[in-house]
């Protein structure tokens, strides 16, 4: 031990060499250790002493005590271990590493994979069924009667829950509604054949009805009720709407 104390090595260098001797250095520390060994003869001497210590201990374990006084070296080794544990923590044995791919897969890979699978399933669902995404399905289509009565399906903003209504649950179905929302109350007025419906919004009390149409927007006479005639008469509204938008 006294000889080793005379070596001109710092504690960090001794720890570095100790790790190098035990094969615990990474590439960088291995390079540093080799550079230290090449530059500092004391480092090479220290490494040799470590080798002797190791060999002696192995000889003791094998019962081949050669009579060398090993206690000083053992003490030195213990002291090194103590320093190593102080600086580097407790020594532990690493588990054998798997493949490179496994190193890059964290322990959460399974969870991440499942999340990816779930997202992928959602993406596929959206791709293949864009129409039905974010729908609020109702298993039964809205039943219609032959009468002309309004059939409320929602009342106001607060309870304007989404509806998914097939207007007719047959091959003749021509209209489907995923959901409807309105400030007023909604009613579906079915066709006589039940294949389609008119969505009617009934204004609630407190919801101001729109003002009457200005005189310039009054309906055109029946005889002239072609789009062209209508727009000719409603020049004021046309100007407000902007050019090119009406035909």
């Amino acid at each position: 031990m006294s000889n080793e104390r005379q070596l001109n090595l710092s504690d960090k260098q001794e720890i570095l060499l100790s790790q190098y001797f035990d094969g615990e250095c990474g590439p960088i520390r291995r390079f540093l250790a080799q550079r230290l060994l090449s530059r500092n003869p004391d480092a090479a001497r220290f490494l040799t002493s470590l080798g002797h210590t190791s060999t002696s201990i192995q000889s003791i374990q094998a019962g081949e005590n050669s009579g060398v006084n090993l206690w000083s070296r053992i003490d030195a080794r213990i002291e090194q271990e103590r320093r190593s544990s102080f600086y580097l923590g407790e020594r532990r044995t690493e588990e054998p590493r798997g493949s490179i791919l496994e190193r890059f897969i964290p322990s959460h890979a399974l969870f991440g994979g499942l999340s990816g699978a779930a997202i992928a399933a959602i993406v596929l669902f959206v791709v293949y069924k864009p129409r039905n995404f974010i729908t609020f399905s109702s298993p039964e289509p809205l039943a219609f009667t032959a009468s002309h009565e309004f059939q409320p399906v929602g009342m106001g903003q607060a309870n304007s829950a989404a509806h998914n209504r097939g207007i007719a649950n047959s091959d003749t179905r021509r209209m489907e509604v995923d959901w409807m929302r309105s400030h007023g109350s909604l009613a579906l007025i079915p066709d006589q054949n039940g294949s389609s419906a008119i969505i009617w919004v009934k204004r609630r009390q407190g919801w101001p009805a729109p003002s009457r149409m200005p005189s310039a927007l009054q309906p055109v006479p029946l005889a002239n009720a072609t789009p062209t005639a209508s727009f000719q008469m409603n020049r004021e509204w046309l100007d407000q709407s902007g050019p090119g938008s009406a035909k």
Partner: protein, 179 residues
């Protein structure tokens, strides 16, 4: 003894690859579908007819009695059978607007009385159209916000009571634009 960990390792190693494959499959699917149907329309003409309904008939009684005569313009003849279900006997075409837009694009139309109609055609396949509609009043309140699917050769009819004895009806039609 090492079989189960080996299988577990293989599963863990390949699960992200499988997920990535599914992702790629999903991402490439629209492209392949588009390649298989190059003539499928990607633009659609939205036609909005604004109709004023008047002269209420008050024939809401059930039983299917004979409906009174409906007076409507020639430009609304295609809607006669459907408008006859409404409790009005007179229908006037107020305005008609058409906008040609590509699928999944949003557009707005100004309607009489300051109302607006925002729409977005979502898809068009096999003469079926998916359309999101947002009909807003002049004050911004939602008259109707809905998503409907209907035949492209049919019109969606929606309406509201606008005055004491009048109604305002929108006939919305989506016409595919054949490239």
């Amino acid at each position: 003894m090492g079989v189960v960990p080996a299988v577990s390792l293989v599963c863990r190693a390949h699960l992200p690859l499988v997920c990535a494959f599914i992702f790629l499959l999903g991402a490439l699917t629209p492209i392949s579908r588009a390649e298989h149907s190059p003539t499928e329309p990607t633009t659609v003409t939205i036609s909005v007819r604004t109709i004023q309904a008047s002269e209420p008939t008050h024939h809401h009684s059930a039983g299917g009695g004979t409906s009174p005569a409906v007076h409507l313009a020639s430009s609304l003849q295609d809607l006669e059978a459907r408008l006859a279900n409404l409790p009005f006997s007179n229908f006037q075409l107020i305005a008609r607007k058409e906008e040609t837009i590509t699928l999944k694009k949003k557009n707005s139309l100004q309607l009489p009385n300051g109302q607006s109609l925002t729409f977005r055609p979502m898809y068009l396949e096999d003469k079926k159209v998916g359309l999101w509609l947002n009909w807003r009043d002049k004050d911004g309140s939602e008259i109707l916000n809905t998503r409907v699917h209907f035949d492209s050769n049919e019109a969606v009819l929606t309406g509201t009571d606008c005055a004491a004895d009048e109604g305002l009806i929108l006939a919305i039609k989506a016409i595919p634009v054949i490239p």
